[in-house]
Each structure stands twice: as C-alpha cells, then as structure tokens.
C-alpha cells in the first residue's frame, strides 16, 4: 500500500476531531455548552442553546453519513464483485442498471423512499427501522450505483495487471484472485470511495430533513435548520444558521480532502 498523503491525514484528523468534539460536546457534556454558549438559545426550542443543537445535530449527521456511506459502499462493492465474477451479459445489465440509478437525483428519490418507508413503519412494518435506520437505508439504496460503477472499473483495471494474469496462469480461481490479489489492492480505493460518499450522504440527508420529510429525533443538522426555518426568516437568523453551516462545511472539507488525497495517492501508487 502506498504511503498515505499528508492531505489525507489532515482530512482524517479533521473528521476525527469533529467526531470527538460532537461526542464530547453534543452527547457527553452538553451542560458545558448549555451554560457557556455565546449564541443564546434557539427560538423554537428555548430549552436548548444553539451550540447544543448544532453539536448534537453534528453527531447525528456524522452517524448517518458514516452508516449510509458504509452501507452504500458495501452494496456497491458487492454488486461490482458479483458483476465481475459473473461477467458477460449479466455484468453489462447490472452496470446498465447502475447507470440508470446514477442518473437519478439523490434528493428526489430519497424523498420518495422516505414517504414509502414511513407509510410502512406507520403500518407496523419496516422491520423495526426507526427514522434513523430508514434514512440510512434510503440513502444507501440511492447511493450504491456510483461506488458500484467505480469499483467495477477499478477491478477491471486491476485484472489487466501482470500479477493477476500470473495468478490465473498458475491455476488460481476467480474467487481466489479476487480475495488474495484484488482485494488488498482495492482496499485503499474502497476507503477513498467511502469517504467520498460521506459528504454526499450528509448533504442529501440535510436537505431531505430540512424539508421536514424525515422525522429524525434527536435532530440532525438539516432537521435542526428546518425546524428553525420560520424563526430564521423572522429573526434574520445568521446566529442560528452559521454554527450549523460551519460544522457542515468542516465535515465535508474533511471528507473531501481525505477522499481526494487517498484517491490520487492510490492512482499514483
């Protein structure tokens, strides 16, 4: 594995720092923020300060991003591996299906899936999924196609390498080649793709929650901003918007930096 670039470390440290901060401030010691927040309390939730809501929301948004990013990356990887193992017409059709999914706008489809999922949950179905699980599944169902396409192309490139041809010539089965030779070479790329899914999932969740379609409780950053919407309009709201905005930007900056640096590093390596 090639050396991890410095930019990737910066991004990973930023992500880790934000995660630790949200855990400490939003979950473990919220009373510190309650007593010392310079931005005052939220108009729609006077019992909570803006800082408590922003850091609490960051924790939920990060958890959704990690879970949905991980699930969609895993789904994409599984689809790509099955397609490559099967080859031929099945591979072509699976990739065409991925392309048509890829062409659909995330936010729109997540809204429809939320509507369907909530009806299912209300009717007593939904396999015990709460709003959090429903959002993660919706985002993963929408987000698998991009990773599947990228992994399939990457696997195809790796399979053209000499060490893979040598392994096949020595009698290695397709599964053996995939497990022993391709998977270790693919791993850094998997991490890069996972990190690139993270901001996409967080932003899609924020937008859908902002519309009031997801019933996330405790609130994510998007839902927090969505519930404060009327107050923001009347009060002129930078005080309420800016902390959540800054946290979202830092989150996306961390994920983008590490994803781009890992992706470039891997291509060079």
């Amino acid at each position: 594995m090639s050396r991890i670039p410095a930019r990737a470390w910066v991004g990973l440290l930023l992500l880790g720092g934000l995660g630790a901060l949200s855990l400490l401030m939003g979950r473990l010691f919220p009373e510190v923020l309650a007593s010392s927040c310079p931005l005052g309390s939220d108009l729609t939730r006077p019992d909570r300060t803006v800082c408590e809501l922003a850091f609490g929301g960051l924790w939920i948004s990060l958890a959704i991003g990690l879970a949905a990013g991980g699930l969609s990356t895993g789904l994409g990887l599984g689809v790509a591996a099955v397609a490559r193992l099967a080859g031929g017409a099945l591979e072509r059709w699976v990739m065409r299906l991925a392309d048509s999914f890829f062409a659909l706008p995330d936010v729109l489809v997540v809204m429809v899936l939320q509507l369907a999922g909530q009806s299912l949950v209300d009717a007593g179905g939904g396999a015990g999924l709460g709003p959090f699980g429903l959002m993660v599944v919706s985002l993963a169902l929408v987000g698998w196609a991009g990773p599947a396409r990228m992994f399939r192309n990457r696997l195809s490139t790796l399979e053209g390498q000499e060490f893979v041809a040598a392994s096949r010539a020595l009698g290695g089965s397709r599964f053996h080649v995939l497990r022993v030779h391709l998977w270790p070479a693919l791993l850094p790329f998997v991490l890069a793709v996972f990190l690139s899914r993270l901001p996409a999932a967080i932003l899609a969740e924020s937008t859908v929650s902002f519309f009031g379609i997801a019933r996330m409780e405790p609130m994510s950053l998007g839902r927090y901003l969505g519930t404060s919407y009327a107050a923001l309009i009347y009060e002129g709201g930078p005080r309420i918007v800016i902390p959540a905005w800054t946290l979202l930007v830092l989150l996306v900056l961390g994920a983008s930096l590490s994803s781009q640096a890992l992706g470039t590093g891997v291509r060079k390596g």
């Binding site: 048509s100 062409a103 209300d122 007593g124 937008t207 918007v241 959540a244 905005w245």
Partner: protein, 294 residues
C-alpha cells in the same frame, strides 16, 4: 446511426421505467386505517388514494396519466394539480434553472481563471478550499440567510436569488473541471507547436485548446442539470416560490401519491431531454464522437 439510435433508445426507456417504478412504489404504500396505528389516514382519504392511482382497475397504472391528459385534477381536490398547472410550475422551475445555468457558467469561468492565475501563489490554497466550502453548503443555507431580505420585496428578486444560490456549487464544480482540463491541454505538445509557429495565446486557446476542453464540460452537464433542478427545490421552498420544486415537496409531505408519480416522471423526462441535447451537441462539436459513431 444504429449506435446513435440505441443510445437514444436507452435514454428514452428510462422515462417509462421511472413512471412504472414510482407508480408501483406508491401503489404498494400500506395506508393504515386501523385504530391501533398511531398515524392512520381516514378511510375516505385511503379510498381517494386508490381512486387516484386506479388500484384494482385494469391498466390502473395509466390512471394518473389519463386524468392528467383529460385536464382533471390529480390528488385530493384541495391540494391537487392539473396538467396545465404542472406545466406552468415546471416552466417556472426550468426558467430559474436556465438563469442558474448562465450564472453557473460565469462562476465556472471566473473560478477556472482564478485557479490558473493563483496556482502557485499564496492564494493557491483557496483553489482547494473554495470547492469544499461550495460543496459543503447545501442550497438551503444561503437561501435562508438571504430570505429575510428578498422574500417580501418581490419583483423577480426571489427568482433571481434562487438562481444565484442554486448556481454556486454547480458553477464551482464546472470551474474545477474546466481548470483541470485547461491545465492538461495547455501542457500538450500541440499547444507548444502552435505557439512556436507564432500564433497569439488567445488564438491558440480559442482555435486549438477549447475544442478539446468542450467534451469534458459536456460530460459535466448531466450531473449539473440534476443538481440545478434538485437545488432549486430547496431554494423554492425557502424563498416561497410556487414552482415545481415546491409542488413536489408538498406532494410528498401531503402524500399526494398521484402527483408524486407524475412529477417524478416529468422530472426524469427533463433529465433525459437534457441528456439527449448533450449527446446532440457532442456530435456537433466533437469530431471524435462522430468518428466513434461511424
């Protein structure tokens, strides 16, 4: 020619697939009318959903479209929409999207020039930070910050603001692609050859470099159109614009299932149309695409 028709067919087939998928997803929604459910719908409303979607009727999946083409109202009478209203709302959103596209191109050119000029200076870090800030900012945040100032003034100001906030991320995304493509092309041998033969830098750029950069930009138009239209949903909601995005969000919130089916299909059709236009433009401007077809 045959290959071209296959590609067009592949794009067009997406529309009925989206129509059927969204119909059957909506038709399979379990509508709870039992007392023990926390969030039940009234039996009248459940019957209205079934009527709207033609559930249980032969060729019921055509029911929303029949109603639309007959000029009847889709959805429950108070919150439904007719075909004419749908088109009017769509034209509003597309209009905002077109203005946003123009603005996005301005952003893209400005960002590409900025990045190439400051590449090795102290401001180079901005070339990386700006896309992250733009990408990390959902459309609704700048819309929220600007809303108190523009909402009550009217006179197309909310529309222009919606186009402005929607255009930022696609513009920076396109600018990043443009800057990368320009950098790659400017480093190629043919540029040095053209310059060494005495052509002015502007002429080299216009006559030799830009035709090679255009295909990369065309590849980005599809995702950009998606993000422009999806971004306008959030801006329309915050700025109170009564267009397609607002209609869609309200249809989902109010479970107007027939409206959701039709609106989702219309949205997919717009994207397919954009894809076909991009293909046509690519054939016109990129000789390599014509050769590939041949």
């Amino acid at each position: 020619m045959q290959q071209l028709l296959v590609r067009v067919g592949r794009q067009l087939v997406l529309v009925p697939i989206v129509a059927l998928a969204s119909y059957f997803l909506m038709a399979s929604l379990p509508l709870t009318t039992e007392d023990d459910s926390k969030r039940q719908v009234s039996p009248e409303l459940a019957a209205s959903y079934r009527r709207d979607l033609g559930i249980g009727e032969p060729l019921g999946f055509l029911r929303p479209w029949q109603k639309l083409f007959r000029g009847e109202r889709l959805g429950t009478s108070a919150q439904g929409v007719t075909g004419d209203e749908l088109l009017l709302k769509l034209s509003g959103s597309v209009g905002v999207g077109m203005v946003a596209l123009g603005l996005a191109l301005v952003w893209a050119l400005s960002f590409a020039l900025f990045r190439s000029r400051w590449r090795r200076g102290r401001l180079a870090v901005l070339g990386d930070a700006l896309p992250a800030v733009a990408f990390g900012t959902p459309v609704f945040i700048p819309a929220l910050l600007l809303a108190p100032t523009v909402v009550e003034r009217g006179y197309l100001l909310p529309e222009l603001t919606s186009a402005l906030v929607t255009s930022v991320w696609p513009g920076i995304f396109l600018g990043t692609l443009l800057a990368d493509a320009l950098e790659t092309e400017l480093a190629r041998d043919y540029v040095r050859t053209a310059a060494s033969k005495g052509l002015a830098p502007g002429v080299v750029l216009r006559r030799h470099v830009l035709p090679n950069v255009l295909p990369a930009l065309l590849d980005a138009i599809g995702p950009m159109a998606t993000s422009l239209l999806a971004g306008s949903f959030a801006a329309e909601r915050v700025l109170g614009l009564p267009y397609f995005g607002q209609l869609y969000v309200l249809a989902v919130l109010q479970k107007q299932v027939a409206v959701v089916v039709v609106a989702t299909t219309v949205f997919a059709s717009v994207l397919v149309f954009v894809g076909l236009v991009v293909e046509a433009v690519r054939l016109l401007v990129d000789p390599r695409a014509r050769e590939a077809r041949a």
